[in-house]
């Protein structure tokens, strides 16, 4: 089985902790949900259900650091689609469709959402464009029937749900699917010797333009500062008399 994992380079959500001694601009990392997707692909290969893992991302040359991180985790091949534009989920899905048609994987795995954009659309859109089944917000994956189907547990608002889908399919990962392995230094050094394939949209014969434009980004209104209370009694009194919620 060949697995295609799609990942996005995003600003590090844990930035405060990791600003190193030589701190400068915001660091980029592999989107945490996509890291879980890469880990899942690696675990699937480790238990013998897959033979090749290809990782793909779309971005400017600067994202090659994240591509190397994916190689350092253990994917077999890594592709960067060279495109520096800000792409909306539908544009991303259309580009990924071209990559899928070229690579012909049995499974596409990606994180359910990117933690910068929080759209949660790409996987589902890609599945529609390919006419493939989808399993979203997945917390467990098993392959059945000689790897022609996948049984997926999904995390939904009502609790856990289980579906079985025919392959080829698109799977999007939720938080509790696995704990990604960290990139080790030996892995990082070995990854430096592995090539990163670069492709342009032209070479993929795909021409998309984003249909969404961000006009502005602003801070949300700040909540007014509250007060400290010193005891349970004082809290209850304030909730009753001041806030009137009890």
């Amino acid at each position: 089985m060949k697995i295609l994992v799609s990942f996005k380079s995003v600003p590090d959500p844990n930035e405060a902790i990791l600003a190193g001694a030589a701190a400068s601009a915001a660091k980029s990392v592999i989107n945490p949900f996509d890291e879980i997707a890469i880990e899942e692909a690696l675990q699937i290969r480790e238990r013998g259900d897959a033979v090749e893992i290809v990782a793909v991302t779309i971005g400017a040359p600067a994202v090659e650091e994240q591509v190397r991180a994916a190689l350092a985790m253990g994917v077999d091949r890594a592709i960067r689609i060279d495109d520096s534009r800000v792409l909306d989920p539908y544009a991303v899905a259309r580009i990924l469709r071209a990559v899928v048609e070229k690579e012909m994987p049995q499974v596409v795995i990606m994180g359910k959402q990117a933690v910068d954009d929080d759209s949660n659309q790409v996987g589902q859109m890609l599945a529609a464009l390919l006419g493939w089944p989808q399993a979203t917000f997945v917390s467990k994956v098993e392959f059945l029937d000689n790897k022609t189907r996948a049984r997926c547990t999904r995390e939904t608002d009502a609790g856990l749900e289980v579906v079985a889908i025919d392959l080829p399919a698109v799977i999007t990962t939720d938080l509790r699917l696995n704990q990604p392995r960290y990139v080790s230094l030996p892995g990082l050094i070995k990854a430096r010797r592995r090539p990163i394939e670069t492709l342009t949209c032209n070479e993929l014969r795909v021409d998309v333009r984003p249909l969404t434009t961000v006009l502005s980004i602003a801070n949300p209104p700040k909540r007014a500062a509250g007060t400290r209370v010193d005891s349970v009694e004082e809290l209850i009194a304030k909730l009753r008399q001041e806030a009137k919620v009890l």
């Binding site: 859109m125 009502a158 609790g159 961000v214 509250g226 304030k238 806030a243």
Partner: protein, 324 residues
């Protein structure tokens, strides 16, 4: 032609109240709107929707739609959107709509915006506001097309007022035999609860990892919720530790809530959790770390050991209830 189609969610017994909030957004946009319901045996549920000012309640009722399988649902919804020449397809953000609507958008070859908080019109040009980076920033976005799919964040729109006049209910016909057949529903957890729905409750009590284990979590967080007739939520860390099931998770990648009263117990206030509770009317935080970020957004902050404070709180509230 119906300009806007609103997808309504149900749990096979009744409408999910949260999903009605998209109607408020539909009313803000121009033109007629219809409500769309998919499933099986929807008679009563459809009847409960006739007084929301829609031009029609469309019902796609078929055994093939008994379970919300994304490939089937997206196909049917796309067909309805085409038949009614709808420009906008709306839903309220939920795992149901997030699973199905992006797929539908791609089938219709149109873009989608998730978690719309507000819509603004300036000189005939429409812009949408949505949260990014776990809600730490608000993006104002415009679309290059006039057709789109939107999910509205329920907490940003009021529940729609009921209209006096009743609208017709119409069966939406489609060929079930032509529906995709490569996804199969296997099972769903059934957990009965007397507590109100987390996204609908007026009072929510959330617990974090310091609650240590499932029993303590249920005793303290559950106990306090019950004393207040509220719902129970949890942080990602608490769910990861096995103290609470996934559907209790509140935050950037879980549920977004805005109750009248939110009480966070042993919750430090990571941005990802705050993203899910920021719009609560009153926020109470109980934490032993005076520097915990949650105190910066809390209306009332109580610094102390939750293992002592919460039992005291439960006792005081129960006494108050008895003497009231």
């Amino acid at each position: 032609m119906v300009e806007t189609l609103v997808l309504i969610e149900h749990d096979r017994e009744r409408v999910k109240r949260q999903s009605l909030h998209a109607i408020t957004l539909a009313r803000q946009l121009s033109g007629k709107y219809a409500l769309l319901l998919l499933g099986q045996g929807l008679g009563e549920i459809a009847a409960s929707l006739v007084s929301y000012g829609a031009s029609v309640v469309l019902v796609a009722d078929d055994p093939a739609l008994a379970e919300p399988l994304a490939d089937r649902y997206a196909t049917v919804i796309a067909q309805a959107a085409r038949k009614y020449d709808s420009k906008i397809l709306l839903g309220t953000s939920s795992t149901f709509s997030k699973d199905i609507l992006p797929r539908t958008a791609a089938l219709l070859d149109i873009p989608m915006l998730t978690d719309v908080l507000a819509v603004e019109e300036n000189d005939g040009s429409i812009s949408y506001q949505r949260p990014v980076n776990a809600g730490s920033m608000l993006a104002t976005v415009k679309l290059e097309t006039d057709r789109c799919v939107l999910t509205a964040r329920a907490t940003a729109f009021d529940e729609p007022a009921v209209d006096a006049a009743a609208c017709p209910i119409e069966r939406f016909e489609f060929d079930a035999a032509l529906l995709p057949n490569r996804m199969e529903f296997i099972s769903r957890e059934q957990r009965a609860s007397d507590r109100p729905d987390l996204t609908e409750a007026a009072v929510v009590v959330c617990g974090g990892r310091p609650l240590r284990d499932k029993e303590t979590f249920e005793r303290l967080v559950g106990g306090l919720a019950d004393a207040l007739a509220g719902a129970v939520g949890a942080t990602r860390a608490a769910v990861d530790s096995g103290m609470a099931p996934n559907d209790y998770q509140v935050g950037q990648t879980g549920k977004v809530i805005a109750p009248q009263l939110y009480i966070g117990i042993g919750i430090s206030g990571a941005i990802q959790h705050l993203a899910g509770i920021k719009d609560s009317r009153v926020i109470v935080a109980i934490n032993r770390d005076p520097d915990a970020p949650i105190f910066q957004v809390a209306t009332y902050g109580l610094v102390g050991d939750l293992h002592q404070m919460v039992p005291q709180l439960i006792t005081a509230l129960s006494k108050g209830a008895e003497s009231a």
